[in-house]
Symmetry: D2
Subunit: 350 residues, 4 copies
């Protein structure tokens, strides 16, 4: 697959641009120098200027929502899906057949085993024939395949935070893979932009709680990647919690080390060339606010006193490195562009 020329911008489509991952994708792509938003679609908002729905984009983006017609999308070089699960199943095949590359932010192509997918998502898998070529789009793990791919499954937000915290350890067989505990905490934008009582401000504000203690859909996704990297089955607890804030994930991992080596040095070496992984000094406490609005993952190591364990703490913005930013990082790789293009995002503090 050859890279596009610099002269002609890549034509992009965004399906499902009315959700939080979708509008974040629009924000990032609006500042990307090498692309053109050709089709921004929403079945419900056909004809509405994007900036009317999202005043944050007034003066930034002139696009108008259009219905997600196949003909329109087929005019694009790359189409992003920021849709509920099942939509990319239904539409991706046709686009691929027409030569359009697809970057799916939903869960449709993340799980390799269609029956496993079906059990966790409660419906039959709609496009098992494409699972073979779908690449799980974690650049720090699959950079090469991503650059050759036609179909990308952008990792989930929690899986990104948890997996990046574990890669160096699993790749080097440094932890007991039968006993991995990931206690994760997320802002509420991860639940999406759907009207529901549980997401109302008055229900979330000044409230903290665990959820899905019986099992979360990101468990099989995390498990699949960890097992692949470890080359063995893994014992994983993944417990998510809801934080009364809009953006950000912090994952705290409790691990049983197999030796007493210098993990910080290992992490620094493993992620030395990675533009979007920042290994902080051990004992640091990554803050979600420090990665807000950026594609960064911040990692730090710690050693709890009087225990045989070690900890890894991982912070990302769930809508950027956990969704839209990672999708653009994948796109850059697929197009042969600089990997950080359009992703030089600096968080405003406070």
């Amino acid at each position: 697959m050859t890279s596009v020329t610099n002269n002609k911008p890549t034509r992009l489509g965004v399906v499902g641009a009315t959700g939080y991952a979708g509008v974040e994708l629009l924000r990032i792509l609006a500042g990307h120098p090498a692309v053109e938003l050709h089709a921004v679609t929403s079945r419900g908002e056909d004809g509405t200027p994007v900036a009317d729905l999202f005043p944050s984009l007034r003066g930034v983006l002139d696009a108008v929502f259009r219905a997600p017609e196949p003909e329109l999308l087929a005019e694009c070089d790359v189409v992003f899906f920021a849709t509920p699960h099942g939509v990319a199943h239904a539409m991706a095949g046709d686009l691929l057949a027409r030569g359009v590359r697809v970057i799916d932010l939903s869960a449709d192509f993340r799980i390799r085993d269609p029956e496993l997918w079906s059990r966790w998502y409660g419906q039959p898998h709609g496009a098992p024939e494409y699972l073979g070529e779908a690449v799980y789009g974690l650049p720090e793990l699959h950079r090469g395949p991503i650059s050759e791919a036609r179909l990308i499954a952008v990792p989930g937000c929690y899986p990104t935070a948890v997996t990046l915290a574990l890669l160096p350890l699993l790749e080097n067989n440094l932890v007991d893979v039968s006993d991995i505990i990931a206690d994760a905490k997320s802002g509420v934008s991860g639940a999406g932009r759907q009207a529901r009582i549980g997401g109302l401000f008055a229900e979330v504000q000044e409230n903290f709680r665990a959820y899905a203690s019986g099992g979360h859909r990101h468990w099989p996704e995390i498990h699949q990647t960890l097992a692949e990297v470890a080359g063995a089955d893994v014992g994983l607890i993944f417990q998510p919690h809801l934080v009364p804030m809009t953006r950000g994930i912090l994952a705290t991992l409790y691990l049983r080390p197999l030796d007493d080596g210098d993990w910080e040095a290992l992490f620094r070496e493993r992620y030395a060339g990675e533009p979007f992984v920042d290994v902080m000094p051990s004992g640091s406490h990554p803050e979600t606010a420090s990665v807000r609005g950026t594609n960064q993952c911040r990692l730090a190591l710690a050693t709890p006193p009087h225990s045989g364990r070690r900890m890894v703490i991982s912070a990302i913005d769930n809508l950027v490195k956990g969704a839209a930013g990672q999708a653009v990082q994948n796109m850059n790789l697929m197009l042969g562009r600089p990997e950080t293009e359009g992703l030089e995002l600096v968080p405003a503090f406070p």
Copy 2:
């Protein structure tokens, strides 16, 4: 120790009533039918009406802050300390000698070993001679001794949430005590009402982070109680996090069971008579908002899929069951009053 008569209210003193635990104590005591606030002290606010500093108490409490003079405090039946550590060390002995009972919300008398205390609190222990009689005021564990005590060390907020989640299991030898992991999350009022940049709204809002990953002062306190109950050393990881909310603690515990019994039944039985411990159906997700402003601890059990572990989730209001409410519960026991008196607090939702 005999109970007071109903005819004459118990005279109370509150030292350090300008902090968050202090003002919460004033709120609760203002509604308690059997007590009289005789001395509300603050060295810095001597002469200021309490309601001027805390407009929430306008029309509720007519008290005026006074300097914490020994003569004034000696006129009380019971004196509460809601002070930084070291203050109760300096003042409790004199009060006890004068026949005043002391309920200390600070950490001064929580740790039995004065050298251990000194290591974690960075100063010499100021009153080791009283450690022998100080009772660790967790009613669910020490109800009898509390009712006989002259000096109560009210448990810390995190220790309350974590210990109540473990009591039934440790008492019955049901978990591997060498491998207890408590991932705890707290609202920021736990850090107190001190002027500091890290506590500013703009620093906390939309931010989540771990802290004290190298060791938190509540670790030796939790460890001491767990070891006492287990009758053995325990391996404990206790990792706290800061939630962008004012009140509430949620602790998520990851435990290795020693058998496959019915923990929910066990918890229900253990806490059957407890007015302030609510065992929810397994799989429930206790919310901090549901205990906000109340003395309740809500507990729920869960079994993470595909792991050999079990979880306990525990929610309290850090300023009530984790401080002022528990202090009043202790007082009621010491005075022979109904344990729930003044503590029938119903949270406003939302």
Copy 3:
């Protein structure tokens, strides 16, 4: 109307108890010593224990939601409506005919002119025949008629905050009634517990905006009361804003005085006997947090420098004095009970 005896609790019904005003009503009534919750209804939650939907009421309220059947409600002495507009229109007449007194928290009976109501609420008035006897339940204005009433229209949240700020001035002809400006700010619980995107945490957090600048439904309600008290038409601007918080209304009023008298003295005199109106010293800044969860209205006066105007600032909790608390205050008056019964609510701070 005679007062009930103390021996037998008044039997209450609450229709629409799944909304925020409804659950707040349940919280307050659960602590009221002279009443019994006979019927807590919700068409959608028939059969669900109230505490399952609202875990804040676990251990406090054993009631189960039931469908709002006329026979069930007819067994009550008093029925509250905490419903969308139109419901009380449809159901109140039947209850009144059966001797049940009705306290309506919705807007159905607040506007005297059914055509005016119809214009602002976009549907025909469903029960104009009861407008003659409906009493606008602002105790500080209509205490006498309330105590005799069968049908109470509980004032809206904004109207309560604005009207209490103006009563002493209008009654004494002290301001230019042609030029009243009320800039009001409310927490988002005022918008109710309906699933909608605009109310999601991620849409509200870190956002402030005006709304309804073309006219808000509370305008005719405020206007009606002000004109009645002034005995003249009034020129009123009422502009509401949304604050990223759950509870509380602050209204800032800009007024043109007709003389240079001592307004603070006047306010103190006017509200001297009022248990739920607190006139603060001039220059004070009432805080919504200081009335959170209580039935208080806090008022303060100010004189902006270098202008001919004066200001009144008014703070209430929109769900208590602006809804459920005021409803209970009305009920107490109707039943001949102490007006403050069940309403001795102390806000937790922070």
Copy 4:
């Protein structure tokens, strides 16, 4: 004053870079293509890497805080002051004498009359000799003088929001200038990054209040500009309020029109060429979240029903258009750079 060449970056100094306006300035300048941060100073943090204090700048800015030595600052082309009042008084003269241009974000040079300044700021004016040449840096009003200036007084946050809402009306004599009411609401970052109890999360969260009802320091500043533009004295009420959010100002203005013309058309015409003023359709409700992190001011007009008045609603980010962004806009003008350079900031939503 000639513009700098494009080849060599302008050398900048930022004095007081540890406050919120300072760090926001660093964020914006870090992305500015034509400048170099030569001196980032803080007396208290001398030697600390900026990214250690502000982890949001990790990987973005390598600068180290240095003490604000005159020799260091004299090496700069332009020095920004983001300091408490009085500091620029003490240091600006020396820098100007050495040929360094000064952009002061503090209030030191905003008020033309040094005695008036002294009354509101409670100390003698420290540099009255420079008041003659200081330019009030509101580009929409003083673009020409700014481009020629050596010393800029960057407008305050509230004054920016209020003045931009009024310029077209005052310039065209369309409102009664004796009766201007500005009800303004601000996030708490405007109060700065000082350790104080009133700014703590627990004091601000879920709280809304007015403040400074007896007079705010921005009153004389706003008054001065309005009087200058109107060519007459103005009667102004400016009442600020604190919103429980970090960033953003919304100002609601109540005005008495002198004719019945089309204000929206007028505003569109007046601000047609302005890159940072966005006139929304009348009846719109500008949201602070939609300008968060950007240099935009969003304005909308409204006509309250049944009143002789009109409203203007104005929204800015207090730290950008109200401070750091406007400072950079001034710098661009002074340097002959494109006015929007480095200021193409797109807000992340949500």
